[in-house]
């Protein structure tokens, strides 16, 4: 599907521009909102995990990567897919289980991927993507390329064995990898303090002699700066970095979660740090846009996402023979 490729690549380039990045954050927000609605309305079975509130991480990471860098994210991956360039229709189509989806409707919400934009199959087993991303980095190192492998995972994932094993090896072999923990303060319904013996995931870098950093994940520019630095470090052959993004998911863990476990006021405090608002204000302050222009942009994006839902809904489900393809070579 080379049309898809061209479109994705064009979308990726849009991130070079501050307004393009802002627009992408808005697109992620609106797409996730619609996805929640689709599930809520019973139109889709299964489960989904949206990332409202974490858009700055997705867009910030994608903005400093090349398409030949490889990203291994999780089931909470719609934002990353969109940020890396995947068109909304490919995300929505996959979630709806349609041919037009990024993997033809065979994967579903938890398994977006597209090789062209450097998005690995998103793995739905906690921690599984961390060593895989390290392996991708190893491949780049072996080839003498300066591409990097990027692993995105949650705070909860920092408690699982694969995290530990992968970070030790990555540090030991000085792999060109960037490990990005999106610390959104919860793993499912459990707050960080109930599952994790430290408050800052970044301190775990010490256990591997790995450089690490805490970043304000609501601030697009902070994200770009930190990831850009880590990527540069990796490309230069200096080894991996662990970055902890302090962030928050505005919605529940998955489709059915109303997030009643949150302490009062917590969501509100974080809503006050909405990454889209922060970036919008910055653009306005810098004279790069007016409030009206941003509102118009939002309306435009909304139209696009609605069209994407229509296009996705119009796409047929994959035919039965598809089920038998790509099992083995």
């Amino acid at each position: 599907m080379s049309d898809r490729r061209d479109e994705s690549m064009a979308r990726r380039s849009e991130l070079a521009d501050p307004l393009g990045r802002y627009r992408r954050m808005v697109e992620i927000r609106l797409t996730e909102d619609i996805i929640k609605d689709l599930f809520a309305s019973g139109l889709v079975a299964g489960t989904t995990h949206t990332c409202q509130g974490q858009e700055a991480v997705a867009v910030g990471v994608a903005s400093v990567l090349r398409p030949t860098d490889m990203v291994c994210c999780t089931y909470r991956g719609h934002g990353h897919a969109l940020a890396l360039g995947m068109p909304p229709v490919a995300v929505l189509g996959e979630i709806l289980g349609r041919e037009i989806g990024c993997v033809g409707g065979l994967g579903g919400s938890m398994h977006l991927s597209d090789r062209d934009i450097g998005l690995m199959p998103t793995m739905a087993i906690i921690g599984a993507g961390i060593p895989i991303a390290a392996g991708v980095a190893w491949a780049a190192q072996l080839r003498g390329r300066d591409d990097v492998g990027v692993s995105l995972f949650g705070d909860g994932a920092s408690n699982i064995g694969a995290f530990h094993e992968a970070l030790n090896i990555a540090a030991l072999w000085k792999l060109p990898a960037v490990f990005i923990c999106e610390n959104n303060l919860y793993g499912e319904y459990s707050p960080l303090a109930a599952t994790t013996s430290v408050t800052d995931i970044a301190v775990r870098g010490t256990a591997y002699g790995m450089r690490s950093q805490i970043v304000d994940g609501q601030d697009l520019e902070a994200v770009m700066a930190a990831v850009g630095d880590a990527v540069g470090h990796a490309r230069a052959g200096e080894g991996p970095t662990l970055i902890e993004m302090k962030t928050y998911r505005f919605a529940g863990h998955s489709r059915s979660d109303l997030a009643t476990y949150r302490p009062e006021g917590e969501l509100e405090a974080w809503l006050a740090r909405d990454p889209i608002v922060i970036e919008g204000e910055r653009l306005i302050a810098a004279g790069a846009a007016t409030a009206d222009a941003l509102a118009a942009l939002r309306a435009d994006v909304e139209t696009g996402v609605k069209l994407a839902v229509e296009a996705a809904s119009a796409s047929p489900a994959p035919g039965r023979p598809e089920m038998f393809r790509h099992v083995t070579a």
Partner: protein, 336 residues
Amino acid sequence: MPKWRMNQAITAAIGDEMAADDRVLLLGEDVGAAGGVFKTSDGLLERFGPDRVRDTPIAEMGFLGLAVGAATCGFRPIVEIMFAEFAGVALDQLATEAAKLRYLSRGAFTAPLVLRMSVGPGLGFGAQHSQTLETWFTNTPGMKVVSPSGADSAYGLLRAAVRDNDPVVILEPRNLYGEREEVDVEAVARHRIGEARVVRTGGDLTLVALGQTVATARAVAEAASVDVEVIDLGTIYPWDVATVTASVRKTGRLATVEANPYQGGWGADIIAELHRTSFADLRGPAVRFTCPDVPTPYARPLEEAYVPAPADVAERIEQWVSTGEVPAPWWQEVLA
């Protein structure tokens, strides 16, 4: 008799065992404050407190290992691993540690723990959250593996599992958590580990089912013009050779219906063993109705086609009984 959803029955069974025996513990991700992602422990934290109902980090190897340790000290932990696939990060503690402790210590250390996991396709969870994975657990002496077919057996088997003195794996069909069934809490002894149950009698064919396929088999029996005897295997390791053998002696025909891929699936063990015990009784080859040998597809129509469909199985059984010809798996037509 209460008509419970299966997750309510599970909650009740855990609650009843915890009330009866203060050595019983419950641990797993979000089993406490949230009452379990499938609501299989709703209210238990409030009832038994955080010492006995324990939320864990995402660390299946770690908390299963903790349960093994606590079990050797006399506790009876019930461990929840949300999806059976996650056993892929923890299998060592079950199969290589817990199951061998008794043997390696000549009985001095034992691991009377229960490992509950949800299994099965059908809910749109995709390739990594839809398998049944029995065969990861069914060639390891030292442990037991059961799978309930509804609220009643979920209640009964879970209570039996907690009281069992060995590690017991419970594979809970995820698509049944919300299904209601009458639960006879008095007659809990009907569900014994190692015992299959004839849940529908019939004279023409023995259809062995497990977990979520018991409903499939019942539906097949309703739909088919031949007289199908349905056996709910209940325990898959060690399974009840005697009950299946007795049934086949009567019917002379054997089939299994499974929610897993064909090659290497659990039904093969049933058929191979019956081949030995009941060769003379079998009027023709036994047949397995399973999923095809592919990962679970996501798109709804594909996933629906993936699992054995009652109407399709019924039709093939009828043809088989009338013509004597062994039905080929449906996907051979698609692939041809």
